[in-house]
Amino acid sequence: MPRSLAGDLTDPEMAQPYMKKDDDDDEEIEYSPFFGIEKGAVLQEARAFHDPQLDARRCSQVITKLLYLLNQGETFTKVEATEVFFAVTKLFQSKDAGLRRLVYLMIKELSPSSDEVIIVTSSLMKDMNSKTDMYRANAIRVLCRIIDGTLLTQIERYLKQAIVDKNPVVASAALVSGIHLLQANPEIVKRWSKEVQEAVQSRAALVQFHGLCLLHQIRQNDRLAVSKMVSGLTKGSVRSPLAQCLLIRYTSQVIRESSMNTQNGDRPFFDYLESCLRHKSEMVILEAARKIAEMDVTSRELAPAITVLQLFLTSSKPVLRFAAVRTLNKVAMTRPLAVTNCNVDLESLVSDQNRSIATLAITTLLKTGNESSVDRLMKQITNFMSDIADEFKIVVVEAIRALCLKFPLKYRSMMNFLSNSLREEGSFEYKKAIVDSIVTLISEIPDAKETGLLYLCEFIEDCEFTYLSSQILHLLGNEGPRTSDPSRYIRYIYNRVILENANVRASAVSTLAKFGALVDTLKPRIFVLLRRCLFDTDDEVRDRATLYLQTLDGEVALGNTEKDVNEFLFGSFDVPLANLEASLRTYEPSEEPFDISFVSREVKPQPLQEKKGPGKKQLAGAPSPATVSAVDAYQKMLSSIPEFSGFGRLFKSSESVELTEAETEYSVNVVKHIYKGHIVLQYNCTNTIPEQLLENVIVYVDATDAEEFSEVCSKHLRSLPYDSPGQIFVAFEKPENVPATGKFSNVLKFIVKEVDTSTGEVDEDGVEDEYHIEDLEIVSADYMLRVAVSNFRNAWENMDPESERVDEYGLGVRESLAEAVSAVISILGMQPCEGTEVVPKNARSHTCLLSGVFIGDVKVLVRLSFGLSGPKEVAMKLAVRSDDPEVSDKIHEIVASG
């Protein structure tokens, strides 16, 4: 029954603008009862609320307009909001139910301040005790939304009653309000446990749902209570599907926590979850299947969950298909074999109308597919790719990359697919995903290298993205000279010099030079090309060409051999840029030139990013400047102390190690500074007793368990007042470049003087005292800098294979593979590369790549292969390459003794 047109409208604000327009074109203008509405005018109309003879209909209409404005994003000023709020409170005098309901809504929208709340409290409390259930339920929701703790205690009694009210709407309103109130007033809401427990037994579906939710929130920190609650309810008194879903969540939580505590793997509630797979409501089945799939269960236990999800795949409802394929996709990430049974159904979903479902189906198939199905799958995908959005394409490309790494023999068809995708139109992100995938495949699959490089060459012939062109040119420079026929790439590279913008031209010049340096037969021809670049319009391009021509030709002497020249021009730049930046900032112009070798090469370990909520994803940022400059600050501070200035360059400073328990009288931590032939121990001491002043504080270090170290000097603290930290230094000599280890026991010795805290006066007489602090160890990892390499494989191959030392170790029974991996990483103190420190869940074996610089500036690369043999028995193969074979041996010694 659509209502009348403009002619019937008598309200002037609403009708007139429409009427005017109506004259010119009535087809164009869209009818809206709120057309041309204005905040000012509506606020004027709201004065009708003050009318002693309230017109309920008119008032409803005005409130609706106000709500409309708020809904459209209009905001009221503080004054306007207060004015409207007071006007609205007048409407409690009307008996009209519809109007009252809008008043409730309006109060919630206005979220009044606490002094305004008082005005409506009594009206709302009256409604809360009204005979009309609808008033009671809504008044509870409004009141609980706007009150604070003190008012809450006044109405607590009514709320407790409402929770067990026989009207389900009232009970639900009170329970939901309880859930909200729990955040700010937990101590009050927790007192309602008894009533909430009663509500959980309610026959009304939603009361049970809300009751269960609140009960769990009240008890969530009490593991035993949650476990008891779950075991009571799983026996079967929960009726509504929503409440069942909650119970499934809580049950799986209990299972998770109990399996962490008990080693026997007993799952007391697993039967309940499994029974939910046979529930009549789909949402319950899904919830149960999903929770089972997330658990660490056997294939046999997982199978029934997979079966119900498989049934969902053929449902006529898109939401059901989506839910099932999304869950299977997740399972396929860790347990692809469990999902293979669904492959036929998944394949039919590739043509699903809903592109989200199709993409999930494809990526699942790419994970579960076997070697023989790859070709067919690639054909299917090709048809599918043409009509999906770029963001879906990126997901597919990434899945293909993973599949290709799994079945390297099939690289041809997948490489082919990727290169075809490169030719099509696409956004930067999409193209970048493809290029990244090809680059990964080139570095991982040796056979794919030459085809891959040629595909990339073709791509840069017609590539609009400078970033990608430069990246590819750089890769060509590294990989191209080592292929069977390097000359075939030259044409593509030189075309860039002719056709592209300055950035790409400069990259191309560098790439050409690399070919010239590494391939002797090409050298003369490259020189011809480089000479042409000397006339480029861009100075960066000209400068690069000049530099390369001069150095490669031997006209400018750089070191002694050709190797030195190549190292200078193309050697890896292993100084982290953030560190370099920080050092340059602190450099003060002086006679002494800036020396890059003084820049710390240590990569600061990134604190693990906390998992952020959806939509707030953050990239791991660069190391914070604070930590970088801390390294520089150490170097500066130490070199300013005359005793230590002769020690040379600071090789490494450790993280601080606490030598006292938290909250003791004196707190001491130590930082280990490592030099070539010395170490300096920096004790940071804090006096936490206000009534004491410490004087002549020294650390007596006993180095009898550290034979290779001999103390050379120490710097004591003249005085250590309350709460102002001071430093004590003790320096030791040790054999140069030798990673000497040892244990030091420490005693803090000082004179204590009493302080009158009220006057600050210090007692003249002091008493000698000493304070034992914990021992300190210098371990081999202290001599290792965490330095990353950008391309581990390249770096590995560039190291002398003669320096390689391989051995196998049994690590015994470990908690998990991941635990074993991180233990070995911390023993070695090296930087994990390419994310290999992360062990996939359920993995039976893992390879971890590490790099670092050992004292004496020796580069070290480590390849660790872990495997599980028998239950929790971890074995490890350790391969080390380094600039110095002795250091390779040393690494093995470290591991053997760790």
């Binding site: 209502r3 008598t10 809904n71 929130q217 789909e282 898109p318 989506f322 959806p614």
Partner: protein, 182 residues
């Protein structure tokens, strides 16, 4: 706007009712993920564009977008959306959407289109208010939701208990029609 751990309670991030051009008819946000009106409008625009070309008329459709589950359905020139976090059970969210679109259908007596929806905006807003309270699902049964909204809109003269729901709805609509056009 409180946010809850998903572990303990299914929650809805927002409910959107847009027209066929992506303009707001009625929206309600229950999450702090969108703090300004501008960010809300941007979100609505991208949800609208991403789903525009799909056929969500006979069955509710679903997509994963920007870390959110979006379940949606189109009726005439109205686009109904319910949005939740990406680890939410999509069938629960679909259930909410169904409660929303069906109850709007009941309240508008099958005449589900933008114009009627705007004419009965108070009912639409009350309807949303009865479905979700601060992110928590309050009710998903369309008959109950519509009943609650309609009972409020009835004139004090006719006691609601003596009417069937459809009668109540008829009264409610007529009442509102009169009130708006008076």
């Amino acid at each position: 706007m409180g946010e809850f751990s998903k572990e303990s309670c299914p929650s809805v991030k927002n409910i959107l009712l847009l027209d066929s051009e992506g303009k707001r008819v009625a929206v309600k946000y229950f999450s702090d993920d969108w703090s300004t009106n501008a960010s809300k409008l941007t979100f609505e625009k991208s949800v609208f564009t991403k789903t525009l070309k799909t056929n969500a008329r006979s069955e509710a459709e679903v997509t994963l977008f920007d870390g959110y589950i979006v379940v949606y359905k189109f009726i005439q020139d109205l686009h109904f959306f319910v949005v939740a976090g990406d680890d939410e059970n999509e069938l629960i969210i679909a259930n909410v959407l169904q409660g929303f679109s069906d109850s709007v259908g009941l309240l508008l007596r099958g005449d589900v289109e933008k114009r009627t929806a705007l004419e009965n905006l108070d009912m639409i807003l009350l309807c949303i208010d009865e479905i979700i309270d601060g992110g928590i699902i309050l009710e998903t049964d369309a008959n109950i939701i519509a009943g609650k909204v309609a009972s409020n809109a009835v004139d004090g003269s006719a006691p609601f208990s003596e009417q069937t729901i459809s009668q109540a709805l008829a009264t409610a609509r007529e009442h509102f029609a009169r009130s708006l056009l008076k």
